[in-house]
């Protein structure tokens, strides 16, 4: 099975203090450190496990400035993905979700993939690329996937997490796009050594021309107006007393509000 996994470089909220830049157009980026979007690690891990079972290969793709895209693609190659692909072009800067989906769709069309995986969402994103990518490719799409079963000569079976923690199971024909929820697996660890091992792996870079994209169609159609931190609201209630008393009050409150039965 040939699988493409789309990954994104993001500032991890666990390793950064995110603040709003003056003017509200962006966050403060001076002290940020970046990594692979958490959901995307699960997608790559799942792709690797499918290939370990079923054969085939995994290609990791990322859109962004060349060095930045390469950094995350290389890290995912250290997990075990065979090929990497960077989609970099000045024309891609400032693309919105639809633009990113169009760039990725062009890359998907260049290969012959049976499956495209994305993270369900990104730490700095809007959870829209997976769905738009499937629409642009006219492929079936399932979101928030937490289980994938590959069957020979039959549609894939996918499990989806739905509201309230319930599980939904569906059939879906390949080729298809799946957006992957965290918890589908336990992604393997990649350390400095793993990354050094793939330090010399060739990662092709494709720009708009190579992808057959018209730069004039890639401009953002959704434009950000403002970022701000909302003022703290009211309604928080501090429980006081000994540990036992606080626990008792909390249980009473949860019962009263229907949180537990």
């Amino acid at each position: 099975m040939e699988i493409m996994v789309c990954v994104k470089r993001v500032p991890d909220p666990a390793e950064n203090e995110i603040g709003v830049a003056p003017g509200g157009q962006d966050i403060l980026r001076d002290d940020l450190v970046y990594g692979v979007n958490e959901w995307d690690n699960y997608a790559v891990e799942e792709a690797l496990r499918i290939v370990e079972r079923e054969g085939g290969s995994v290609t990791v793709v990322s859109v962004g400035a060349r060095e930045q895209a390469e950094e995350v693609v290389r890290r995912e190659m250290a997990m075990g993905a065979e090929q990497g692909l960077c989609l970099a072009d000045p024309a891609f800067e400032g693309a919105d979700g639809q633009g990113l989906a169009a760039i990725l769709a062009a890359a998907v069309r260049r290969g012959s993939y049976d499956l495209v995986l994305t993270g369900a969402l990104a730490d700095d994103g809007a959870a829209q690329v997976g769905g738009m990518l499937a629409a642009l490719l006219d492929w079936p799409y399932a979101s928030l996937v937490n289980r994938i079963e590959v069957r020979v000569g039959a549609p894939l079976v996918v499990g989806r997490e739905i509201e309230g923690g319930a599980q939904e199971v569906s059939e879906i024909d390949a080729p298809c796009v799946l957006s992957i929820q965290t918890g589908i697996n336990e992604p393997r660890y990649v350390g400095i050594r793993g990354i050094r091992k793939v330090a010399s792996a060739e990662i092709p870079v494709l720009g708009a021309a190579a992808l057959g994209l018209d730069p004039s169609t890639l401009g953002a159609r959704v434009r950000r107006l403002d970022y701000f931190v909302p003022p703290a609201g009211v309604g928080a209630e501090m429980l006081e007393g000994s540990v036992d008393e606080v626990a008792g009050k909390l249980v009473d409150l949860l019962k009263a509000k229907g949180g537990i039965k």
């Binding site: 991890d12 666990a14 390793e15 950064n16 990594g35 997990m79 660890y189 400095i192 050594r193 793993g194």
Partner: protein, 673 residues
């Protein structure tokens, strides 16, 4: 005195031939078994154990010949010592007996008249010890020897068999000698086996005595070589290997083996594989450890992970690996292919993550079996294969990106100093001083533990020490990173810190964190001398630079020895000296669980981020020990210990009744203005 009118060597050609055949066959069989046992050691990873020969010889004298660690378990230890010295004393006699089967009157030169009574009394004492051990094994059955379900059969049967073999050797030798003495009328050593048996044989005629002599000899000969060939088959292999195991044992504490001996840290990238994944990835010394384990259970008896029900028992690391090695390298036939990697095969991932590297097991092992390096090597293999629990991946990623496990900003590393109440110079802003205070991550960033850093700074200032910190240029020492098997990340942290420390121009380093102390002392190279703050406080008090007020509340204080201060660095007295310098402070010891038998709090660094399944927190067990000792205040000298013990006091519901405090905080509290 005329010799006895009979002897094995003069019992006819048939017996003479038999008594030459038995040793020949026995030695051939033993040689074959030993050659098979040595085979995996030749294929194993290298291990540099030939340096420090004088220290190694000293260890042999203390721990092997002197049985130095045996009395830590008084009854079992003393019984073992009686058997051990009995073996040594009777070894020459047994070898002499073998030769007497075909050469009359043979004696080793140099073993004079003193040897007879010496070996006779040694044999009598050994037989007595065998009897006590048999009762102990058969009737009292110490819990330490029990084999948990799923880990194979118990070894009581093997133990009883060996006691029987030893008794057979002792009795047959006694009868052999007694029959000779009875025939010649020579005196026997009083209160010895020959002396007792001679009395029994007093009425026997020469024919009977000759038959007893021949039978005793034959039984001794067969038992001796049978026993010799039996030794390498199980836990009694230690009779042969322990001498070598002690000679080659760890001579330094606190250190961790390199990824591969003979490969410098700058060349690690060239290694095709890291750590231990298959049996031959162990070093030859580690395989020798497996062979040497006597299954005595002392390691597991003191293992905090085992005590709180984590899936780790160090004893079974050895026993499972030994049995696995025996299966892979059978006595006959070619070596077998390994069915699975070690982790996922004979070991489970949680078993390997359960260890806090506290070192209690190694401290206890009478023959120097190592565990920390094996655990670290197994983890190195797991890390390379990506098998790292999710809960550890975030802190490791943060350490890589931010130099601390919390993912907090580098520029905030020195922020604790603002509330120290004394000026703290920082190399970050161009400050210089001869003494560098290395804070490390937890005391820099953890809000509670920052109070230790602040107290430390005040004490340093009060003691007149001109000191600085590195500020944002300090990274995590990497102590736990290394012990969790992430060698390359450790190397990166080490390089960054080494560079920053050298650039700072510091002439000595002080730290309040024993993990940092241990890393800077044992894992780093080329740094100025490193001291723990407790050593500096002890000096400061002695020199009169620090004066302390009386402790007035009448509570009992106990010192919890941090593993990396005590066992790994031998600093037991400095913190006690400091406590005892506080006038009126009542200090109690957690007897049996203090100093080198201290019980780990639950571990430092990354242990705070990964919870292994357990029945009870180690910290809670430790708080209970302190309570049983009658203490109301647990003093420690490590921010991780304080974190775990403070948590444990809450978990145990003892808030308000028990308190945990860092040594620096306590001294700071008691400082005279």
């Amino acid at each position: 005195m005329s010799p006895a009118p009979f002897s094995p060597a003069s019992s006819g050609t048939l017996f003479r031939a038999l008594f030459m055949l038995i040793p020949a066959a026995g030695l051939a069989c033993f040689g074959w078994i030993m050659a098979r046992r040595v085979r995996p050691l030749l294929l194993a990873a290298p291990d540099d154990r030939m340096r420090h020969v004088p220290r190694r010889l000293l260890l042999v004298l203390k721990l092997w010949l002197g049985q130095g660690r045996h009395p830590r378990y008084l009854l079992a230890g003393v019984l073992h010592m009686v058997l051990f010295f009995g073996f040594l004393a009777l070894g020459a006699r047994s070898a002499q007996m073998v030769v007497l089967g075909f050469r009359d009157g043979f004696a080793f030169p140099g073993l004079g008249a003193w040897y007879g009574p010496a070996k006779d009394w040694a044999a009598a004492a050994a037989l007595l010890a065998v009897a006590v051990l048999a009762v102990r094994r058969g009737v009292f059955r110490p819990a330490r020897y029990a084999v948990p379900p799923g880990l194979g059969p118990g070894h009581a049967g093997e133990a009883m068999l060996v006691l029987g073999l030893i008794a057979t050797l002792l009795v047959s030798e006694g009868l052999f000698e007694a029959s000779q003495l009875a025939a010649t009328g020579a005196p026997a050593t009083v209160l010895s086996l020959p002396w007792a048996f001679k009395g029994l044989l007093a009425a026997a005629g020469t024919g009977t005595l000759a038959a007893v002599n021949l039978a005793a000899y034959t039984v001794h000969d067969l038992t001796f070589f049978g026993f010799l060939c039996f030794l390498p088959l199980g836990k009694h292999f230690h009779v042969i290997t322990s001498l070598f195991n002690v000679f080659f044992m760890r001579v330094e504490t606190g250190n961790v083996k390199p990824v591969r001996h003979g490969v410098a840290s700058q060349q690690l990238d060239q290694l095709p594989s890291f750590g231990v994944k298959r049996f031959e990835d162990f070093t030859w010394k580690h395989m020798l450890d497996f062979y040497s384990c006597a299954d005595c259970g002392r390691c597991s008896d003191h293992c905090p992970a085992n005590a709180v029900g984590r899936p780790l028992s160090p004893r079974f690391i050895s026993i499972k690996a030994r049995d696995y090695g025996f299966r892979l390298y059978p006595l006959a036939g070619p070596a077998k292919a390994e069915p699975a990697p070690l982790v996922g095969g004979i070991f489970s991932a949680e078993e390997i993550w359960s260890c806090t590297t506290c070192g209690a097991c190694e401290q206890e092992c009478p023959i120097g079996i190592e565990y920390i390096d094996k655990i670290v090597d197994l983890r190195r293999g797991m890390v390379e294969d990506g098998l790292v629990p999710q809960s550890l991946q975030k802190p490791l990623a943060s350490l890589e990106k931010r130099g601390n496990p919390y993912g907090k900003l580098e520029k905030k590393r020195g922020e604790w100093a603002a509330a120290a109440g004394v000026p703290v110079k920082s190399a970050e802003t161009g400050g210089t001083a001869p003494t560098l205070y290395f804070v490390d991550s937890v005391s820099s960033y953890d809000e509670r533990m920052q109070k230790i850093a602040q107290a430390t700074a005040r004490l340093l200032a009060k003691a007149g020490v001109d000191f600085m910190v590195l500020g944002k240029d300090e990274k995590d020492s990497g102590h736990e990173v290394r012990r969790f098997g992430e060698e390359m990340l450790f190397q990166s942290l080490k390089e960054q810190n080494t560079e920053a420390i050298r650039a700072s121009g510091a002439q000595r380093i002080v730290t309040g964190d024993p993990h940092a102390l241990n890393a800077l002392r044992h894992d780093y190279e080329g740094l100025p001398p490193v001291q723990h703050i407790s050593e500096l406080l002890a000096e400061g008090l002695a020199g009169g630079r620090l004066r302390l007020r009386a402790a007035g509340d009448g509570r009992a204080f106990t010192l919890h020895d941090p593993c990396y201060l005590g066992r790994h660095n031998g600093i037991y007295d400095a913190p006690r000296t400091v406590l005892d310098a506080i006038p009126g402070l009542r200090r109690v010891e957690m007897e049996g669980a203090c100093r080198d038998r201290s019980f780990c709090c639950g571990g430092g660094g990354l242990n705070l981020f990964h919870e292994v399944p357990e029945a009870k927190r180690m910290g809670v067990a430790r708080v209970e020990q302190a309570r049983a000792a009658g203490a109301q205040v647990i003093v420690t000298a490590c921010p991780f210990c304080l974190t775990n013990i403070e948590d444990a006091i809450k978990v145990a519901g003892l808030e308000g009744r028990m308190e945990a405090v860092d040594l620096c905080e306590l001294v700071d509290r008691q400082l005279e203005p």
